[in-house]
Amino acid sequence: MSNKPSRQSSHSAKVRAASGSGRSNTLWIWIGLGVLVVAIALVAGFVGRSSDSGSNSGGSASASGGTVVPNGSLEYGSLDVTGTKLPDSPDPGATDTAIGQAIPTIAGQTFDESKITISPEGGKPQVILVVAHWCPHCQAEVPRIQDWLDTNGMPDDVKLTAIATANTDQRTNFPAGPWLRKEKWTVPTLLDDKNSDAGAALGVTGFPGFIVVGADGKVVYRTSGEITMAQWEQLLQAARTGTAPTGS
């Protein structure tokens, strides 16, 4: 840092010439390092490819008895909402006016563009989970619920559906599909559109959001934020009985 700029070019050349002895050795070390980096790149490519075709693949069976969300490059879904939109979830402690209201029908797509529908019909209790790819609470909740499903199996008497909403390439962990496949997520998942119309139709204002729907297709209970697995079991029970969890 002591050389004057005006003398730099000739000085640098002289410095290189003066310290040029042993150049052949350093050349071999450089070649060795280059070969090592190329070898690391090849191994990484192999590991990455086998990971993509293995644990990260969609559509395979899982311990939960469900099927991992399918592969597909869809980043935003396309959907059709019919019926009355639920009002926005109220602040904690306030009365939820959506309770007793039938959920709208949302006909949309999953990650491989196959059709999936959320509807008040079917005569089966439901729990709808609404997650956002960038939301750290969702990133924490999804593996917890998946662990529960892997341990306890997919419930027979409660239909589980998820909505991947608030999708945007301006935020982390986009798109949602690879993230959910990485978590081996087996809950059938509807991919929301660019306007998050599916999330809005269910009045979701916080993530992760949970909508408990009775066998009659009407809202029993809504909540948002991370929950424990004891609370998760209470949500399933609320769907079965049509009664909101006690203490809610």
């Binding site: 003066a18 310290s19 042993g22 990484a44 990455g48 982390t172």
Partner: protein
């Protein structure tokens, strides 16, 4: 771009490079300790030490450059939002993608006087960030926000390699390389 440079492949690549940084740093430190134990008497590896001394500046520059490009890869290609701690580490590394290049061209080992204090600050932050990613505090940290959480493991390879661990590895390797970099020959040697 995402198809061309898949996340898993690139993360494994950068994770192994981070481990290579540790291998280089540890080897050089052990070599220096052995030399000290021999009271500076030249050993059989002395020519190798000279070679590495000559290569240290360009190698440190290459590490700064790859670290900078890797950081930009995660934020620009995969839209990972850098948290506050990430930004401090970026500040400690990004400028050296240029500065160490100039120093390597000039063979100016004196750059260590300016660079190592910056890396030292960056390493302290990286150690803390690595720690809270490995063991997230239940109460969170004041650096975390919902938009850019500092405890979310966007990368987690081999059960311990996270993004701040990669930054730490790069800064450790660059620091050690700068310490062993051979200064430019004296002007008298050049004039001869």
């Amino acid at each position: 771009m995402r198809d061309l440079l898949p996340l898993k492949t690139m993360s494994v690549f950068f994770a192994v490079l981070a481990l290579l940084c540790w291998a280089i740093a540890i080897s050089l430190v052990v070599g220096a300790l052995v030399r000290r134990a021999r009271h500076g008497r030249p050993g059989r590896l002395e020519p190798l030490r000279d070679d590495i001394g000559r290569m240290a500046l360009p190698l440190a520059w290459a590490i700064a450059l790859v670290t900078t490009l890797g950081s930009l890869y995660y934020s620009k290609v995969w839209s990972f939002v850098p948290c506050e701690l990430c930004w401090y580490q970026r500040i400690a590394i990004y400028p050296f993608a240029v500065i160490l290049g100039i120093a390597a061209w000039r063979r100016d080992a004196g750059i260590r006087v300016y660079a190592i204090p910056v890396f030292a600050i960056g390493m302290v932050i990286a150690v803390y960030h690595t720690w809270i990613q490995a063991y997230p505090p239940s109460s969170g940290t004041s650096f975390c926000t919902v938009e850019a959480p500092c405890t979310t493991r966007y990368v987690w390879e081999f059960g311990f390699v996270s993004l701040p661990f990669m930054a730490l590895s790069a800064m450790v390797a660059m620091t050690v390389l700068l310490l062993v970099a051979r200064p430019a020959p004296r002007r008298s040697a050049i004039e001869e």
